[in-house]
């Protein structure tokens, strides 16, 4: 493990709950690691599998996805669909031997600022221990 390794983490969160969690966190003056890059998507269900794969191939060490809790989705079932997509990506990465544990899926509600910050921190520490993503530095992709 390299000592000065700072992982790059892409955090996809949905417009309604995940982003709301980050707003609550800011209201409470919580902070999360600076190497976590937040991306707002309209619904985690609208996130394509390609976005996750592209992040992993083009430079992210890990990808986090946060949507609403089951039953809370603004569009009724977006989070359940997202769960299937993440399951597909994780299975694909597992079969291809590309470390599926670099993709995390955890529900964060609008009011759960602490949970949002903890998730970002925990994942960042986890990836730091895991090390660099092997395919992000391969030029022949």
């Amino acid at each position: 493990m390299e000592k000065d390794f700072e992982p790059r983490i892409v955090y996809f969160m949905c417009k309604w709950c995940g982003t709301g969690g980050s707003e609550t966190a800011s209201a409470w003056h919580f902070s999360y690691p600076e190497n976590v890059i937040p991306y707002r998507v309209y619904c985690t269900g609208s996130l394509s599998t390609v976005h996750i794969l592209r992040a992993l191939i083009e430079g992210a060490d890990g990808v986090l996805i946060s949507g609403c809790h089951p039953g809370d989705c603004h569009y009724n079932n977006g989070n359940f669909r997202a769960r299937r997509k993440v399951a597909l990506v994780k299975k694909m990465l597992e079969i291809l031997g590309l470390e599926p544990e670099r993709v995390w899926f955890r529900y964060v509600a609008h009011g759960e600022g602490k949970r949002f910050v903890d998730t970002a921190t925990e994942f960042s520490e986890y990836i730091k221990k895991l090390g660099k993503n092997p395919i992000k530095e391969r030029r022949e992709t």
Partner: protein, 352 residues
């Protein structure tokens, strides 16, 4: 092959009885080095057709997408295709790309086909080998295909020892076959068992070739990003493909940054993303037809890669493409209580 003649006679008798008005079936091109699907109601042309061709004509299922794009067919049309293409038709139906009204699907016990490359180079000799029933030189994918009879068709044509056995599988099929004398078809067990064993062995062996970043990247290292595999794929139906979209019109800064991150950037870029992305979009519907492998100019074993992945992933989600048109595609449906292993539990509450 005698079987071809028998099937053609059967199709013509359907036309005579006014049960079907036109057929879409494989026909040799005039220059004699390939087969294509033709839509025709001319008796002479149907007589020349080859329902069981020695190569797989490209674009079978996609032909139906074009045919029914602006609404259902007005005349009864019979379609005779390889089982894998019929499965792709059913998948396209689920994606609302094909209208099954007035369409009659026919399929048969597939003996496998030869690689298109081999056929184009030497049509006469390959045709002779095919008619002799040569099973050693057929495509690698056909050697491991064991699901050729698990398909939703109206009429299934069993082939055994130069004889055909008709089986209706739907109400539509029963209606067509009302006046025909039906015999029970002997099970194609022997060939199925042999192919199942070959498939198990293939899945075991191929894992070494694909697992891990090094192996995976060396598989795709020859790719020239021509997107042929996508264009001939029967289930890749999108009119605007994401990989042809503006998402890949990138600024020079973007390329330079990526080149800096990776120390160097290979061109054409985004080949691995193309293959993995396409895989994640259509792997559930992959019918292992091998059109992609036939079309690849760089001899990448793309059909085998997708077959390997499809076998594993479809098993994981308990989905079989082409089994039932009422089944829903895994990515457009969900259950509330499932896939709990994906959710990362929140157990470590950090102190701050």
């Amino acid at each position: 092959m005698k079987v071809n003649k028998l099937i053609i006679d059967f199709l013509l008798s359907l036309m005579e009885k006014k049960k079907i008005d036109a057929f879409l079936l494989p026909l040799k091109v005039p220059s004699g080095d390939y087969y294509t699907y033709v839509l025709t109601d001319e008796k002479e042309l149907i007589e020349k057709g080859k329902p069981v061709p020695p190569v797989m004509p490209a674009g079978g299922a996609r032909a139906l997408q074009s045919l029914t794009r602006l609404g259902s067919l007005k005349r009864k049309t019979g379609i005779i295709m390889h089982p894998c293409q019929i499965k792709a038709v059913i998948e396209l139906y689920k994606m609302k790309q094909v209208d099954l009204e007035n369409l009659y699907l026919f399929s048969f016990d597939c003996p496998g086909v030869f690689p298109a490359e081999k056929y184009i180079k030497n049509p006469k000799e390959t045709e002779k080998k095919f008619e002799e029933g040569n099973q050693n030189e057929i495509r690698e994918l056909c050697k491991i295909c064991d699901k050729f009879d698990m398909v939703y068709v109206d009429v299934y044509i069993g082939i055994k020892k130069e004889n055909i056995y008709l089986t209706p599988k739907t109400e539509k099929g029963e209606e067509i076959l009302k006046d025909f004398k039906l015999e029970n078809q002997p099970e194609p067990e022997e060939i199925k068992k042999r192919r199942s064993e070959a498939k198990e062995k293939f899945i075991e062996d191929f894992e070494k070739e694909i697992k891990g970043p090094d192996a995976l990247l060396s598989l795709f290292s020859k790719c020239i990003n021509c997107h042929n595999c996508m264009r001939v794929c029967p289930v890749c139906y999108c009119r605007q493909c994401f990989f042809d979209s503006e998402a890949f019109d990138l600024s020079s800064e973007n390329y330079l940054l990526r080149a800096k991150n990776k120390k160097a950037l290979r061109f054409p870029a985004d080949t691995l993303l193309f293959h993995l992305g396409r895989m994640s979009h259509m792997i559930f519907s992959c019918v292992n037809c091998g059109n992609c492998e036939d079309a690849c100019p760089m001899d990448i074993p793309i059909g085998r890669i997708f077959t390997f992945m499809a076998e594993k992933i479809q098993k994981e989600f308990d989905y079989v493409p082409g089994r039932d048109p009422q089944e829903r595609l895994p990515l457009v449906t969900y259950e509330e209580e499932e896939l709990k292993w994906v959710e990362k539990p929140y157990t470590r509450i950090l102190r701050r």
